[in-house]
Subunit: 141 residues, 2 copies
DNA sequence: TAATTAAGTTAGTCAAAGCTAACTTTTCAA
DNA sequence: TTGAAAAGTTAGCTTTGACTAACTTAATTA
């Protein structure tokens, strides 16, 4: 039915796995358990389990001992996750936080931020960038 | 030993319980399981268990079937948590988010925000308040 | 003051998300 | 081409933080 949105609701953790898999796939055409393990700083069996769950939800396919590839639906979701991720990272950067902190804070908020607030955040980034806030961090005392 | 800081590290969840208990205690002189349950939207046994953990860590005392009161150390910690909470709430308000969202986003970040970033955030709030950003929310398109 | 209701407690269940240990498959180099 | 190393898998454990069901204590009110 038109207009019907099949909301796939993942946990924050599963969103991280999907997002990372998508990143590697964009770079190399596929991703593997091992690189996700290294990237996300979790052990191989943790990745294995997560990938199985994403497979059950039809967000990706995983050939035993082989490649991981996102499905169409997985890509659609991951695209949105990644753009949210990037947006929030830029948001904190434009507020003057360093890269490490911007990544940390962004990575937490990306799982809970409301879709309706994204335009506002984008507008804020644009505004702050124009003011060069990131380049002229506040003196804090 | 002077200069030695005994870092009590709580989970985000336990921080929420301690913070809420402190809020009620400031208002009424003590807190109770039931009001924490209502306030935090969890069942009575969940509060009970959390309170026991905070008691083990000597952050509060709890008389069976009775009052909850923070210890000196509990108050010191809770004071810091609460001020972080308020700061982040104000931060999002000053960026133009509504109260509900400001609370939500603040409540997530308060458990992970770096102590060193607080002065920056305070400075940002001050700056944004002066510019009246909260009152003139961005047109998002 | 006895009975009912509200609050608090205890025990045990569940899901999420990590882990280790032990095993299997694949890959690569001698 | 074979055998060691790397990658992947499986099973089962652990912690956190919620829950329900059943019970006990305290408070209230008829």
């Amino acid at each position: 039915m038109k207009g019907y949105e099949n909301k796939i609701k993942l946990t924050g953790s599963l969103e991280d796995y999907l997002e990372a898999a998508y990143m590697f796939e964009k770079k190399n055409g596929f991703s593997r358990i091992k690189e996700l393990s290294d990237f996300l700083n979790v052990k191989l069996p943790s990745v294995n389990k997560a990938i199985k769950q994403l497979e059950r939800r039809k967000l990706l396919t995983h050939k035993r001992y082989g490649y991981i590839k996102l499905t169409k639906g997985g890509k659609r979701l991951a695209d949105n996750l990644l753009s949210t991720h990037d947006m929030l990272f830029n948001f904190f950067i434009s507020l003057g936080f360093d890269k490490k902190k911007s990544l940390k804070y962004g990575c937490y908020l990306e799982h809970i931020i409301d879709e309706n607030d994204k335009p506002k955040i984008k507008a804020l980034i644009k505004f702050l960038k124009e003011k060069n806030y990131g380049d002229k961090p506040f003196k804090s005392d």
